[in-house]
């Protein structure tokens, strides 16, 4: 088998092996399905409850994408602002780090008090949790401009805005796209946490309901869907990254940027 095929099939092979191992353990230890359902049972449940699962998953996907959208806009704006100014960077960064250290689960109840049970707290949680890596990466990309290049530009009479537009932002692009991959998966975590704490829709809500009725296979079926959505989104943004910033890897296919978080 050629190297390319090995690389393409590798992940599928690992997933299959994982499921096989899981199935084996369940059979060998005779685990009852309310402790750990076997993958075959999980997939059977997935088919059986395809309707409600897809409905709730789509809701979660929407919630996640809206929150993520806000964090892209806010993250780039704030990242550009603090990346371009040392003073702003030093002033804002400690607050950002402090804020990022707060477990988001702790905020959700407050958000629910403010905005009521439902989609709004989930969108906000998705936003809050995925915002930080984007800000940090964009700011880093802009702030690490080579001093010589800055000198070249300043001695041409470039304004701060010129420098940001012509060099800062393009330079931050690879950092930005690398952070999107991380941010989108975090956004899923955020919206599902919020749905679990207080919502009447979404995969988090579905899982909470299922586990309170001891429908453990349904919980796992939902988890599998969440993981699949996460992987898909990650792959989409990884593909986007490769397309947009081929220059950063000098035509090679490897990116090694700080991804924050």
């Amino acid at each position: 088998m050629s190297r390319r095929w090995q690389e393409a099939l590798g992940p599928w092979f690992v997933v299959l092996a994982l499921f096989a191992l899981w199935e084996g353990v369940v059979i060998a230890a005779r685990l009852p399905s309310f402790v750990l359902p076997a993958p075959t049972e999980v997939f059977a449940t997935l088919v059986q409850f395809a309707g409600p699962i897809s409905q709730h998953s789509l809701h979660t996907l929407m919630t996640t994408l809206i929150g993520f959208g806000f964090s892209v806009i806010g993250g780039v704006a704030l990242g550009a602002a603090i990346g371009a100014s040392q003073v702003a960077y030093k002033a804002v960064f400690p607050v950002l780090v402090g804020f990022n250290s707060i477990p988001k689960v702790a905020i959700v109840p407050v958000l629910i008090i403010w905005f009521g049970i439902g989609t709004v707290p989930a969108v906000i949680t998705a936003f809050l949790i995925s915002f930080f890596p984007i800000v940090v990466n964009v700011a880093t990309g802009i702030a690490t401009l080579e001093p010589e290049l800055r000198d070249v530009l300043r001695s041409l009479g470039a304004s701060k805005f010129d420098i940001l537009r012509k060099v800062g932002l393009p330079r931050a692009a690879p950092y930005f796209f690398a952070s999107l991959k991380v941010a989108i998966t975090l956004a899923f975590v955020g919206s599902i946490i919020s749905e679990t704490v207080g919502s009447n829709e979404g995969v988090g809500y579905l899982m909470l309901q299922a586990s309170s009725r001891f429908q453990i296979p349904l919980v796992f079926a939902a988890l599998v869907v969440v993981a699949a959505m996460g992987i898909t989104m990650y792959a989409i943004f990884a593909g986007l990254e490769r397309r947009m910033t081929g220059w950063a890897t000098r035509g090679m296919d490897q990116a090694a940027y700080a991804t924050g978080h």
């Binding site: 010589e148 000198d151 001695s155 041409l156 330079r171 910033t245 220059w247 950063a248 000098r250």
Partner: protein, 263 residues
Amino acid sequence: MRAELKFVELDNVSLTYGGGTLAVDKLDLSIARGEFAAVVGPSGCGKSTLMKLVTGLAPASKGNVVVAGREVAGPLKIVGMAFQNPTLLPWRTTLDNVLLPLEIVQPYKATFRRDREKHVARAKALLATVGLKGFEERYPWQLSGGMQQRASLCRALIHEPDLLMLDEPFAALDAFTREELWAVLQDLWLQRRFTCMLVTHDLREAVYLADTVHVMSARPGRVIETKTIDIPRPRTLETTFEPHFVDLVHHLRARIAQARVAA
């Protein structure tokens, strides 16, 4: 010779960096309009600092820096610069890298889009003179180090600056490429006669290219000798083997050796 038309003038200039390093002290230097000046001196003596002083990127702690008859108070607006590291933008093609100054410097900036065709033609012609014809659409990382340095020179010259500042531009190149680029730079200078300040560690390079070589002392840097290079142009590689050339290089080498011991 043309000393009456001073273009760059430093009078008793000192610069102390934050942290207390006295980098240059009581430095006097003058460069005539259209002159090619080279600055040599022991490592760490303040040559790069001198470049920053002249271009206004670092303000003098004491003394006056005057360029084109005006006291330098902030970054000068139309200087071309090139460094040891070519600092090309990897997301732009070689051609677009060369065009960058035109997107920033007035008066080109205002009409850049409209006159793009014209500028592209000019950039291509400039790239051709440094031997980069056919590489316009390549990305910098697809070029060799020497080719990147040529492109960097083009970027420094495209907006026809009155002052070209070069900080060890050829230091990272192999001897053959370096000597080739001496000729390229000399040709460009003979055509355009911009005022040029070249910092280098290579004394042959300084003598080959410059009208005047300024020798700096060890830190804190001062100009301890100004040597006029009275070799006719265009100079060639053959020139570098002539006794007079070799004498000049020896003389400069001895001065720098003294400067280092004195430190």
